[in-house]
């Protein structure tokens, strides 16, 4: 679009035609205050704070609704404008209670800031203020009408942004009030966006109310540990007792891939950390019962038994199961531990998508995967299977926002009219389980059409749908775990012309676990076992035969051939409904946060730190790599990385070959966050000295591991500066995954929804308390036990 020249306060500026005056002013650093204007939401002109003088206009004009025009001369700093702002604040403060000392928003309240900058120093009010008692709309949302300034941001973000429309306006005039459309409570997705967007303290979070004040917290930007979308969440952390306690989760830092968005899990579901059932001490089975033990005792026992098994029956008798919730560094180190220390390829994890086939189909095509940001700007999106609104909330937000703001065309293929069909240009309803056939049809296989016909889907419709898709440039194709193997490959090969793809896994680091080679037959980066040597000298000893997958491990257990099983942050017993007696003779070691069904069978249970309690990196399902930052502390637990290294060390392995010792890795947790008083720093230094290392070098340094990953894993060679500054970096799929053309039969989708998150969800009070978690009738798939 052509550029338009305007003058603001005597400064000339140029902006594209169609820009709003308020945005044009902002672009040159002139602040025009406003409450109701919010970028990306519809215009209101309701708060009248952004009134400015425009030459040749008799009245003051709202900058938020005025589109700039050539030659416009604007004044934002005249006495009239200042008086107008002051008066608006006097008006809005008429009924606004002066309870800032107890208000949760105090300290980060836009009304406070504006009153400070533009308001009157004294109140003219003599009369009483209108009062209405506080209401609770849901376990997590409270509403205080007197504090509300009626900017309608919450109504708009709920309706336009989330497409939920749970909030409305009742009454008129001074009695206007924001109210839930469902009687007196909310029935919505409980995302809490209304709380986040509220400029004042009218909407407050039930999880954070009256706990502390914003300036009392440190704000740590990290990555949400629940679903696979990788939202950036800001955790408010306060020192309490022996360490840092997470008090609040929100979306202060809007620089992440999620922009304004955060769902219920990212915002509130950190409360499992303080669940009373959280494991805080290692457990060792003595006389048939798990009894608390010291870390030394537990680790020594594990090392001893692992060493025995390896030295007598060899690595083939040992199994390792990784997690899709631990960091890339831990997963990388775990498979390295299995392959180098245990000398076995018996390593697997809970697979939720056919990433190897995806990578295989994409081999040779650079830049063919879409990042989460691409979904927001793509001209067209094809969604096959999955229900992103419930399983990938951020993805759904990106698609919705793209359709709303940029007019993207959304094509949906699903067996069910999912919520996103409201935004869809075309919806193809297919019989349940026919997603693979749909992919084959879209890839050009006309014989697949027969399996797709329903009462709503005719042959003509199918053909028309395919034709429209073929006309789309730069399409982003998104598919869930319904597509595997050859159909997936066929689809990826069929759509060309700049098309990009996203394969949807289910957990926070499902993609990372796959990328880091938690497969019995694939090395990190989906490389074949024959290429182990490229990872370095020690890797030459890695066995060339593929190891046992999870199913084979259980079968071996039944035959008493599996001597040890090392389970890191996973719950295969519940998730795969494994017969508990299959592992009766196996020495099972489990690292987890809670006593899961698998941990219940274990000989040794080691309490692990969750992703909010450690540093590292996650790769979201699109392949966007982001850094985790340590936010909270939990006494007694250790990060998985440290546990793995300690076991290896106790087994007599030269840990320099396992964990890289990089003195430049400054961000390792030496325990500084817990303070010098705990003595942890000193212990670390003594330990290092004893091992002959430099005192400042830590073998538990995730950033040193990340450096190694960047060096050796194909596709992960991304800019470190970008990562360290907190940005998301898209990784390439440079691996090859040879021979991965058959559908992976071990894929088991997690079927999480907005209110479940595996084991963590079971122990999250908030997720269990919101009524939607109970109201939503679970479909057959969701009845499966939540695990992992």
């Amino acid at each position: 679009m052509a550029d338009v020249n305007i003058t603001v306060d005597g400064r000339k500026l140029t902006a594209p035609a169609g820009t709003l005056l308020i945005e044009a002013c902002k672009s040159v650093g002139i602040e025009v205050p406003s409450f109701c204007y919010y970028p990306g939401l519809s215009l209101q002109g309701a708060c009248r704070m952004c009134l400015v003088e425009i030459a040749k206009m008799p009245k003051l004009q709202t900058a938020c609704t005025t589109v700039i025009q050539e030659g416009m001369a604007v004044t934002t700093a005249s006495d009239t404008v200042h008086q107008a702002r002051k008066a608006m604040l006097e008006f809005v403060l008429q009924n606004h209670p002066l309870d800032c000392p107890v208000c949760d928003a105090g300290g980060e309240c836009e009304l406070q800031d504006m009153t400070f900058s533009y308001g009157a120093s004294e109140s003219k009010l003599i009369d009483f203020k209108n009062h209405k008692d506080e209401e609770q709309w849901s376990p997590v949302v409270f509403f205080d009408r007197p504090r509300c300034i009626l900017c309608y941001r919450c109504v708009r973000v709920c309706g336009e942004g989330m497409d939920v429309w749970a909030l409305g306006i009742q009454n008129r005039g001074a009695l206007s009030l924001i109210a839930p459309n469902q009687d007196d409570h909310l029935e919505c997705e409980e995302c809490g966006m209304c709380i986040d967007i509220c400029p004042v303290g009218a909407l407050t979070s039930g999880a954070y109310r009256y706990k502390t004040r914003p300036w009392e917290m440190n704000h740590v930007s990290t990555v949400c540990l629940h679903c696979a979308d990788g939202c950036k969440t800001t955790l408010g952390v306060r020192r309490q007792g022996s360490g840092n306690q997470i008090v609040r989760g929100d979306n202060r830092d809007k620089s992440g891939i999620n922009g304004d968005f955060l769902c219920i899990k990212g915002r509130y579901a950190f409360d499992f950390i303080e669940h009373p059932d959280r494991l805080k001490q290692p457990l060792v089975r003595k006389n048939g019962t798990l009894t608390p033990a010291s870390w030394e005792e537990a680790l020594e026992l594990v090392a001893l038994r692992f060493r025995e098994a390896r030295d007598t029956d060899g690595g083939a008798s040992m199994g390792v199961i990784g997690s899709s919730r631990t960091t890339n560094e831990e997963n990388y180190l775990l498979q390295k531990f299995a392959r180098l220390v245990l000398r076995t390829n018996n390593i697997d994890h809970h697979r939720t998508a056919d990433f190897p086939a995806f990578v295989n189909a994409l081999s040779g095509r650079a830049h063919a995967t879409a990042s989460m940001r691409d979904v927001l700007s793509a001209p067209a999106v094809l969604l096959i299977g999955n229900d992103p609104t419930y399983q990938h909330p951020l993805l759904a937000w990106q698609i919705r926002t793209n359709v709303r703001l940029h007019g993207a065309r959304l094509y949906v293929v699903n067996s069910w009219p999912i919520k996103l069909t409201r935004q869809a240009k075309e919806f193809l309803q297919i019989p349940e389980g026919a997603e693979d056939k749909a992919a084959a049809f879209l890839a050009g296989d006309d014989s697949a059409a027969d399996a797709l016909l329903t009462s709503k889907t005719t042959r003509e419709k199918l053909a028309g749908f395919r034709e429209k898709l073929q006309g789309e440039q730069n399409l982003v194709v998104i598919f869930g775990s319904e597509l595997r193997g050859q159909e997936l490959a066929a689809l990826v090969r069929a759509a060309a012309r700049g098309a990009k793809y996203i394969c949807l896994g289910d957990h926070a680091n499902s993609r990372g676990a796959a990328d880091m080679g938690l497969y019995p037959d694939l090395l990190p980066g989906y490389l074949p076992l024959s290429e182990a040597a490229r990872f370095g000298e020690p890797w030459k000893s890695v066995p060339q035969q593929p190891g046992m997958d999870l199913e084979a491990m259980v079968a071996a257990g039944k035959e008493r051939k599996l001597r040890t099983l090392y389970v890191v942050g996973s719950n295969p017993v519940a998730r795969y409904a494994i017969d508990p007696f299959a592992l009766a003779e196996t020495f099972v070691v489990v690292e987890d946060l809670f006593l899961t069904e698998t941990a219940d069978l274990a000989e040794v249970v080691l309490p692990a730190a969750c992703a909010y309690e450690k540093s590292g990196s996650f790769t979201n399902t699109c392949g966007d790599l982001q850094l985790l930052r340590k936010a909270g502390d939990c006494e007694g637990v250790k990060p998985d990385l440290e546990i793995i290294v300690r076991i290896a060390e106790l087994m007599g392995f030269d840990i320099q070959q396992l964990a890289p010792l990089d003195p430049s890795g400054m961000r390792a947790d030496f325990g500084e966050s817990r303070g010098v008083q705990s003595g942890e720093v000193d212990q670390q230094a003594i330990w290092n000295r004893r091992q002959g290392y430099e005192p400042r070098v830590s073998p538990f340094n995730p950033f040193a591991v990340l450096k190694e990953i960047q060096r050796v894993v194909p596709g992960y060679n991304v800019g470190q500066l970008e990562l360290l500054s907190g940005n998301d970096v898209h990784t390439a799929t440079a691996g090859r995954a040879p021979g991965k053309t058959e559908a992976d039969r071990f894929i088991l989708p997690s079927h999480e929804n907005l209110f479940t998150s595996g084991t963590l969800g079971r122990y999250s009070d908030v997720l269990n308390r919101v009524i939607e978690a109970r109201l939503r009738l679970p479909n057959e798939k969701e009845k499966e036990i939540a695990a992992d």
Binding site: V102, R209, E216
Partner: protein, 181 residues
């Protein structure tokens, strides 16, 4: 001439001396004086150990807004907030201070916290005998600083308290603005 002016000056000086010799002494006889303060006397504005005030209903005035902690230049105030409920009501507003500690190792008695307090909950009392042999006993808890009863309007609980009442308060609550060993 010089002699006379010298004598006059001398007489003037000595007059002051003799006048003061005859007037009663104002030296404070602390700690051997009478009353619970043992002879110590204060200006009203004296900034001693803090007193946390109660409102006219006997509820704590502090609403745990953390402004004192924010204003404190020596970072000696630690607060943990909690929710009032209908059954368990501590303060007049929605929130109260579950934990309110002042670390007198660090406190410089600047009075910024009192300035910052929007509810006039924290005030300076006249407690001054804070010396101790154990530094950790200098972290005063809320219970040690809380006034036993509401002050009259515009008054500080410490100012309006009589000696007898203060003794009683000391017996029952461990003192007003004082420490307990």
């Amino acid at each position: 001439m010089n002699v006379f002016s010298g004598l006059a000056a001398l007489a003037k000086g000595m007059a002051v001396t003799f006048k003061e010799m005859l007037s009663p002494t104002i030296v404070e006889n602390y700690p051997d004086g009478p009353g619970p303060l043992r002879g110590a006397m204060f200006q009203e504005r004296y900034r001693g150990v803090h007193v946390l005030q109660r409102d006219e209903n006997g509820l704590e005035k502090c609403v745990a807004c953390f402004l004192c902690a924010a204003a404190c230049p020596s970072n000696c105030i630690y607060i943990e907030a909690a929710d009032n409920t209908a059954e368990h009501r501590i303060s007049g507003a929605e929130r109260y201070a579950q934990v309110y500690n002042i670390d007198y190792n660090r406190c410089i008695f600047c009075g910024y916290c009192v300035e910052a307090c929007p509810t006039d909950a924290i005030t300076h009392g006249h407690g001054f005998e804070v010396a101790t042999l154990n530094a950790s006993s200098l972290v005063y808890r809320k219970e040690q600083m809380l006034a036993p009863r509401p002050a009259l309007q515009g008054q500080n609980a410490v100012f309006s308290i009589s000696g007898e009442e203060q003794l009683k308060a000391e017996r029952e609550h461990g003192g007003v603005g004082r420490w307990i060993e």
